[in-house]
């Protein structure tokens, strides 16, 4: 309570010293790779972000201030992301930065936003992105790569009872680092992969890799790659070979794009991936209430028909803005230090994508409990059924 009063006082002092604040907007910088080779996640997240801003502004804004979204398209290029991050924090003087979308860009922008002391919502999954000491105002809303991999490993080992693992990564930055983390985490469980390889994401045919995995005696294939083309070929190779081995891996194996890339619908059976609980249908066939509420609100904007995105990208985008709203309300303003405190004292903030908690020590807001394993071919409205346990 004491803290609340103090931050209110600080905010009052701020308002008193800057009368302009009464009319000014709360500026949110949004670094988004809307074009370029990594655009699909960003486009979906952007739907959520834009919708949340409009919704909040239609309801009168936050503490009487409208939100102003300043979007910059980084095209997935870290150099551009660095420039735009500088532009947002120094030229546009935004109060928050959301993004960038890809880990490679985020690695480069986090130190810059941190140096400017601006609160940064992280939506990249690579573990190195947050650090309470080095980047005290960078808070992650998305799950970590480790959470995805741990969930998938656990499912393969404990539920499917498989321990002859074949790891297939791609040669991109994200693919190599994920494959490495996956190997390390398996080693902790006492498992050494029987086969492990990295593949060029544009390689035209994966039959050879799958043959080798089979020859090595693999009984589960774990792909760690975000390249849908590669994953489509992997699933096709398995189907064409007539090898009924389970695939458990990166959420991209259940992306809507895969459905179009595979040769036959049944090839997508026996394929599982880590995904958030929020977009997993419960046993009664319904989505969690908060997700369903957002789906209903957004459906008209997404074309009215079946939703053609992984819905959790949209929910994550929506949540980032709602988190900003929550923090401004808690801190009573946009003072960065007060916002940091507000983050650090947030427990169980209920969003559409997850229930977030941050602490002074832990910048990862996404709880382990909110991750599960989905069945890929149950995709409907961007959501999935839970994998059988």
């Amino acid at each position: 309570m004491g803290f609340r009063t103090r931050s209110w006082l600080a905010a009052l002092a701020l308002v008193a010293s800057m009368p302009a604040w009464a009319q000014s907007t709360i500026k949110i910088g949004w670094l988004s790779s809307l074009t370029g080779p990594l655009s699909s996640a960003a486009i979906a997240e952007n739907k959520g972000v834009e919708f949340a801003v409009e919704e909040i502004n239609a309801a009168g804004g936050v503490l009487g201030h409208k939100l102003e979204l300043v979007t910059r398209d980084t095209a997935g290029d870290p150099t551009k992301a660095v420039s735009f991050a500088q532009q947002l924090v120094f030229s546009e003087k935004v109060h928050f930065v959301i993004g960038p979308v890809n880990s490679g860009e985020t690695l480069a922008t986090v130190p810059i936003v941190a140096r400017a002391g601006i609160p940064n919502l992280i939506i990249g999954t690579i573990d190195e992105l947050v650090d309470a000491k080095k980047y005290p105002r960078a808070f992650r809303a998305i799950n970590t790569n480790r959470q995805w991999i741990e969930a998938a490993n656990k499912y393969a080992i404990e539920v499917l009872k498989k321990n002859k693992v074949a790891i297939i990564g791609d040669t991109s930055g994200y693919g190599t680092s994920s494959a490495k983390t996956a190997t390390e985490l398996l080693a902790k469980a006492g498992i050494k992969p029987v086969f492990s390889t990295l593949v060029d994401p544009n390689k035209t045919d994966l039959t050879d890799e799958m043959n080798k995995a089979r020859a090595a005696g693999a009984d589960v294939i774990m792909p760690w790659s975000a390249a849908t083309g590669l994953l489509g070929r992997l699933i096709n190779a398995r189907g064409d070979m007539g090898w009924n081995v389970p695939i458990v891996g990166h959420p991209s194996v259940m992306a809507p794009a895969i459905r179009k890339l595979i040769n036959k619908p049944q090839y997508w059976e026996n394929t599982f991936a880590a995904g958030p609980v929020s977009t997993t249908f419960r046993a009664d066939g319904k989505l969690p209430e908060r997700t369903q509420a957002l789906v209903d609100k957004l459906r008209p904007r997404l074309g009215g028909g079946e939703i053609d995105y992984l819905f959790w990208w949209v929910a994550l985008g929506y949540d980032t803005v709602k988190i900003v709203e929550h923090m401004v309300k808690t801190a009573g303003g946009t003072d960065p230090a007060a916002i940091q405190k507000a983050f650090e004292t947030t427990r169980e903030l209920k969003g559409a994508y997850a229930t977030y908690s941050w602490t002074p020590e832990d910048r990862n807001g996404f709880p382990d409990l909110d991750i599960t394993v989905n069945v890929a071919n149950t995709l409907k409205d961007g959501s999935f059924k839970a994998a059988p346990r």
């Binding site: 074009t35 370029g36 490679g104 480069a108 040669t171």
Partner: protein, 336 residues
């Protein structure tokens, strides 16, 4: 000293003064960052210009050398904690060495073969930065340390980069205006004729390529430090294409044309949002337009314009033979 050389000296001094005082009159740190980025790019492009603009070897893969410089700096100054200044010099040396190793086999190849070889080089470097994960951090990349005071602040770093840019401009200007530069242009325009009048064609091409490798290594170290974090995604092939396009659009065989190209092509997409959306399409369109309409580059347009404006002033004074321009005109006549 003639009046024209006095005037160019005064112009140079004004330009240097403007560059040096920039931190005090830019609007904010973002613009300063852009200025530093331009300076860093220019360190590379200025060296590359000797290769592309003067000796006529079309290298589209200098981004590979940039990556080597940046990773070299991150590893030497970051992991092994060498002095940043020593690391910077070492990166220049490594860049030069890699330039030598790349140039030795590939500079003997004809134009298109050479361009493809440099492109392949850039792809190989990208592949190795990913594959040698223990050394380069693999896909996760590496943090790059900043320079110590007084170059730690954005203003300080900008001045360091600008200083390097001015130094390299001065060096290449001297090369371009010497006997050497003439030799290089002769190689570009007609290698056979150049060889027949005693220009050591291959040796000169290789030497210039090594110089460009050194400047690319230096630029890489500065670039890494400016970005503060590097991953393989940073050094995409399109960046190499961008360096190349800056030179072609600015104008081959000139120094200030490519400088102009670098400034405009770096700043424009940042300032004009619709252009950013087009991304590399914009560079492609600009390159095509320039190649078809003014193959000599935009810089040439300015030269022609200023040449048209100048004679009016000269009417008042005594007519001085301008040997340099005359020689230039003659040369153009010949190359036409």
């Amino acid at each position: 000293m003639t009046s024209s050389s006095l005037r160019s000296l005064a112009g140079t001094l004004v330009a240097i003064a403007a560059v040096a005082t920039l931190p005090w009159w830019v609007a904010d740190q973002y613009q300063l960052h852009l200025a530093a980025l331009i300076a860093v790019y220019w360190v590379l492009i200025c060296g590359l210009n000797l290769v592309v603009g003067f000796s006529g070897q079309l290298s589209i893969g200098h981004v590979g050398l940039l990556a080597i410089g940046a990773y070299g700096f991150a590893i030497l100054a970051g992991r092994y904690e060498w002095s940043p200044y020593l690391s910077l010099l070492a990166c220049g040396a490594i860049g030069g060495l890699c330039g030598f190793l790349l140039g030795l086999p590939s500079l003997r190849l004809p134009g298109f073969y050479f361009a493809m070889a440099t492109m392949a080089f850039a792809l190989i470097v990208a592949e190795l930065t990913l594959a040698l994960g223990d050394f380069t951090g693999g896909g996760v990349g590496l943090a790059v340390p900043p320079f110590p005071e007084p170059f730690a602040s954005p203003e300080g770093f900008y001045l360091l980069a600008a200083g390097a840019a001015i130094l390299i401009t001065w060096l290449t200007r001297n090369v371009a205006q010497s006997q050497w530069g003439r030799g290089l242009i002769a190689i570009r325009d007609n290698p056979v004729a150049a060889e027949s009048v005693g220009v050591p064609v291959f040796r000169m091409k290789l030497l210039v390529f090594v110089v460009s490798g050194m400047s690319a290594g230096l630029a890489g170290a500065l670039f890494g430090s400016l970005q503060s974090y590097i991953t393989p995604d940073t050094f995409v092939f399109e960046l190499g294409l961008f360096f190349f396009v800056c030179i072609i659009i600015g104008g081959r065989g000139s120094i200030y044309g490519p400088l102009f190209g670098t400034i405009v092509l770096t700043a424009l997409p940042e300032m004009v949002a619709p252009l950013a959306k087009l991304g590399n399409l914009f560079y492609g369109l600009a390159l095509l337009a320039v190649v078809l309409l003014v193959p000599e580059g935009i810089g040439r347009v300015f030269e022609v314009l200023s040449a048209r404006l100048r004679p009016r002033k000269l009417e008042h004074g005594a007519v001085e033979p301008d040997a340099r321009r005359l020689a230039e005109l003659l040369r153009e006549e010949r190359s036409r």
